[in-house]
């Protein structure tokens, strides 16, 4: 079966001359539809760089990134924007919700960026993440866990092929962290979304199908005690 997301021998460097920093060092990764892969590792290891490259936010210095059969290296800037809009969902730290919008409008928002063939129903999706009762609340009226639930719903409303999740439990207590990652796992499995989650939180890794460790820009299977 074709991987939903595939990185092959990807490197990413920042800076130039003697100041050059190798953020990703020949990284290869395949994530299948419905699979939840966690990437753990210390700060500065390259986890966010991996999300940036996989999410078409920045081009790799070398190597290839594919979404299904689509090679991102051949896409123009405008096409990359369209690919992010239609095929990739992002869940950011603390939700990164828009302050002016209610929970329901947060989920409607991506649908205003373009036309979508078969989007999910925002109200039903809000109910699915357990936030129906706070549909008219704005982000400052929600707890950290609630903001993340709305952020997850927002990322899924366009039925993306790939979901990229950046430290979803960074600001949450233990129980809420478990709830949020369990929700991610359920959505990934139920809707066939290839999900890559970057996290520091080792307590939530049991929800994931696979755990990889990133150190100094290199991706590897973790030692048993870290998984």
């Amino acid at each position: 079966m074709t991987a939903a997301l595939s990185l092959k021998d990807v490197t990413l460097t920042h800076g130039d001359g003697e100041e050059i920093v190798l953020a990703l060092d020949h990284v290869s990764l395949e994530v299948g539809p419905g699979e939840l892969v966690a990437i753990v590792g210390p700060s500065g290891a390259g986890k966010s760089s991996l999300l940036a490259v996989a999410g078409a936010l920045t081009p790799p210095t070398s190597g290839t990134v594919r979404l299904g059969e689509l090679d991102l290296g051949t896409a123009s800037r405008r096409e990359l924007t369209r690919i992010r809009r239609e095929r990739i969902g992002f869940v950011f730290q603390s939700g990164n919700l828009i302050p002016a919008l209610t929970s329901l409008d947060q989920i409607r928002l991506p649908l205003t960026f373009g036309t979508f063939e078969n989007p999910r129903d925002p109200r039903r999706l809000l109910a699915e993440v357990g936030m129906e009762h706070k549909a008219d609340r704005r982000p400052h009226q929600l707890s950290g866990g609630e903001r993340q639930r709305v952020g997850i719903a927002r990322a899924l409303v366009t039925r993306p092929q790939v979901l990229l999740v950046d430290e979803p439990t960074a600001a949450l207590d233990r129980q809420r962290s478990q709830d949020v990652v369990a929700l991610l796992a359920r959505e990934a499995h139920d809707h066939g979304v290839a999900t890559v989650m970057v996290t520091h939180d080792h307590d939530v890794l049991h929800h994931c199908d696979r755990v990889l460790e990133m150190i100094d820009g290199r991706l590897r299977e973790p030692l048993a005690e870290t998984a």
Binding site: L57, T58, I88, A100, T112, F113
Partner: protein
């Protein structure tokens, strides 16, 4: 517009504050527009109402004082009358005088000497009473000073007398002074300061200020050749407004203030949207990461600026018109006219939008990478 309108509603206090500044600028623009038109009317409405294409003044006369310094004669008049394209050439006299009425009303007058029965004659133009020697037809604004039909106006210091035979319906002023139309011969005597009983030399009746010209097609007249032949300097009616005392300086000053207001409006709105865009940098990065196109984001921000500008400028203009209506009722030279206010409104909106557009272009420089954790 999905996001634009919701953000306007959410941050209404911030937008209202900005809108109040735009509204205040719009009020000032309306008031200044009214003052400009009022002053222009006060300065040159007598000329504006004349069915004249151009005036031919004395050769090389100073253009900012042409009406007070120019003297031309019958030769110039005859030469202009023969020019191709000229369908009317008549003498025109213009002199400012001090006067008082037999009722004791002190008044300054701009005496316009006209040939009776010509296209300058108010009896022909407005159907007013025919004006004979020793008589005058005055502007409505002079009547507002307390002069009535039948009153005698006594010119100073000659003590020559003019009888008011009619009052025109509209404002006819020149150099902020009310106009009185009188026969050319009477005007020539008034200009020469002829006192009752004086022997008047013939040359007094040979001079007037300018030749007033009517043409059927301006391009059909060889203006330079005609000026050369007649020994005159011709100015279009609009150019001749600059010869009204103080006109150019007054209008230029007010227009300069208006342009400063437009510039301030553009700068204030530009600064506001610059700060707003900088404050929204993280939010814009998130939107871009989610796949919002640059066009979507620019359109969204421009809709916000258009709504802000139109609503606040509309409120400001409404208040400005109400204030203007109150000012119009006073003696201040002030007139609300639709065209200049429309032009001022369009300029205010266009320049404000330009300022906002330049500010929101910063959106294109926001990197969607900033949405990810490490960049925060």
């Amino acid at each position: 517009m999905f996001l634009a309108l919701r953000e306007l509603r959410f941050a209404r206090g911030r937008f209202a504050l900005m809108g109040a500044v735009v509204a205040l600028i719009a009020i000032l623009v309306v008031i200044l527009s009214g003052l400009s038109v009022g002053l222009a009317n006060d300065g040159v409405s007598g000329l504006q109402r004349m069915p004249v294409a151009s005036f031919a003044f004395q050769e090389n006369v100073s253009k900012d004082a042409a009406f007070s310094r120019s003297v031309v004669g019958q030769d110039a008049l005859d030469t202009w009358a023969e020019q191709d394209g000229v369908i009317g050439a008549v003498p025109f006299g213009n002199t400012l005088v001090n006067a008082r009425t037999d009722q004791g009303v002190e008044i300054d007058l701009a005496l316009f000497g006209i040939e009776t029965g010509s296209f300058l004659d108010p009896a022909i133009r407005y159907g007013s009473a025919e004006v004979q020697e020793g008589e005058v037809v005055i502007s409505r604004t002079a009547a507002e000073e307390g002069i009535e039909v039948g009153d005698t106006i006594i010119l100073q210091p000659s003590e020559a007398e003019l009888t008011v035979v009619d009052i025109l319906d509209d404002q006819h002023t020149f150099g902020h002074v009310d106009v009185g139309y009188l026969p050319l011969k009477t005007w020539q005597e008034a200009r020469a300061g002829v006192r009752p009983g004086d022997v008047v030399p013939d040359r007094v009746y040979e001079e007037f200020t300018a030749v007033a010209l009517q043409v059927d097609d301006e391009s059909a007249v060889d203006w330079a050749a005609a000026d050369e032949a007649a020994g005159t300097t011709s100015l279009t009616r609009e150019e001749s407004y600059g010869a009204s005392p103080g006109y150019t300086a007054e209008i230029a000053t007010l227009q300069l203030i208006q342009w400063f207001l437009y510039a301030i409006s553009a700068l204030v709105i530009g600064a506001f949207f610059t700060v707003l865009t900088i404050q929204r940098r993280q939010e814009i990065a998130v939107l871009r990461a989610m796949g919002a196109s640059t066009r979507y984001l620019l359109r969204d921000s421009l809709v916000q600026s258009i709504v802000l500008l139109v609503v606040s400028a509309g409120i400001g203009i409404g208040i400005g018109l109400a204030l203007g209506a109150a000012v119009s009722a006073t003696a201040m030279p002030f007139a609300l006219e639709a065209a200049p206010i429309a032009v001022a409104t369009v300029l205010l909106l266009v320049l404000g939008l330009l300022g906002a557009a330049l500010a929101v272009l910063r959106i294109t420089r926001v990197d969607p990478l900033a949405a990810l954790g490490g960049s925060r």
